[in-house]
């Protein structure tokens, strides 16, 4: 139970990401639009922001730096960041 890196790498799917964020934020999936602002529209506080970062790391097996985490403001941001991280990993 030490490292939660046991789940295999998951392909990035925007709808799955949307559902994951809705679950973390405890809101309806429909509220997590591509551009809904985490703080201004979805009322994300610092604890929920950390929850998002940790769950994205665990689900997609990536590491997020503090600056990257702070810059995550919407589903689109998260999708772009994860796409870039996962692309980095497959390319040599």
């Amino acid at each position: 139970m030490t490292e939660q890196l046991s789940t295999p790498t998951r392909p990035l799917d925007k709808e799955e990401l949307r559902a994951l964020l809705a679950q973390i934020l405890d809101v309806d999936v429909a509220e997590v639009t591509d551009t809904a602002h985490f703080v201004d529209e979805l009322e994300v506080d610092s604890l929920m922001a950390l929850e998002i970062a940790v769950q994205l790391e665990q689900t997609y097996q990536v590491k997020l730096g503090e600056k990257e985490t702070v810059a995550l403001k919407s589903l689109d941001d998260a999708y772009e960041l994860l796409s870039a991280k996962l692309a980095d990993r497959v390319s040599p």
Binding site: T2, D45, L47, V54, Q58, E66
Partner: protein, 282 residues
């Protein structure tokens, strides 16, 4: 009766740094198995793995979980795991050492860009105070708190002192101490002891996040009648000491682990400590 800690189980909420980390280390050195909960991004994974390796080096089991201690989902996951690990013996020591809260003032004040919101205030009190109640409820319901078990909550002088950015945390610590007293009375029939430990000014990552901390750390040494600040190991030693009994008679207290700092009049104790009397650790 004084008892050894060897083979007993300890649950540390907030185990990856500061005082929680020192407590996990000290209890493992005494032979206690550790289940540590922490909540960190991947940049701290190496540090947590290093801690787990160190604890196992003392010949004990060490299990770490990276999850939000204030989330019901985390408790739902960890309680069955604790039942499985402890095999009916229960958790002898539970430590609530969660430092996650909002550090902004209640009213606009330079240099903070914004004052506190309802959501921030509620989150802070929920994580740093109410989560103790929910953990104890679930541990009790699962019969993991057996006679002689100890529950500790880390509090601070913030219950009686105000700092510019510490309002929400201060409110949380006051609530935490009230929860400790209530739980102590409700758990007395089960012979489970619940106490708050009030550490003095201790340089930890949590303290360093307080914007004005540099100022009072600088003055802290002079204000402490022992002539030095509290170190995490001071608090870890107190937990070890208080846990080495099966008695539940010491319960419902806020116990100062601060070298007398709270009661010392500020600035009155700054003369140098005589050579050879430098106040023990470190």
């Amino acid at each position: 009766m004084i008892i050894p800690l060897e083979g007993r189980w300890a649950l540390i909420l907030g185990a990856s740094s500061g005082i929680g980390r020192a407590i996990a280390t000290a209890l493992a050195q005494e032979g206690a198995n550790i289940v540590g909960l922490h909540f960190d991004t991947g940049d701290r994974a190496a540090s947590v793995a290093e801690l787990a390796g160190k604890l196992r080096g003392y010949g004990v089991e060490a299990h770490f979980e990276n999850a939000n201690a204030a989330s019901p989902a985390t408790r739902a996951k960890l309680i069955p795991r604790l039942l499985e690990l402890t095999g009916g013996e229960g958790v002898h020591i539970t430590v609530h050492s969660l430092a996650f809260g909002t550090l902004v003032p209640y009213l606009p004040r330079e240099p903070w860009p914004a004052s506190i919101t309802k959501r921030q205030l509620e989150m802070t009190v929920d994580v740093m105070a109410h989560s103790l109640v929910y953990w104890v409820q679930d541990l009790h319901a699962a019969e993991l708190l057996r006679p002689g078990a100890k529950v500790y909550a880390l509090t601070s002088a913030g219950t009686v002192q105000a700092l510019p950015s510490y309002g929400a945390v201060s409110a949380a610590k006051v609530a935490l101490e009230a929860h400790v007293r209530q739980l102590a009375c409700e758990l007395a029939p089960y012979r489970v002891a619940v106490n708050a430990l009030r550490a003095g000014v201790t340089v930890t990552p949590a303290l360093q996040r307080i914007p004005e901390s540099a100022d009072f750390v600088a003055r802290g040494e002079a204000n402490n009648p022992h002539g030095r600040l509290t170190v995490p190991e001071d608090v870890a030693e107190a937990v070890t000491l208080l846990s080495r009994t099966d008695s539940s008679w010491i319960t419902g207290n806020t116990i100062g682990v601060d070298g007398g700092e709270l009661h010392a009049a500020a600035g009155a104790w700054s003369r140098p400590v005589p050579a050879g009397h430098e106040g023990g650790m470190p």
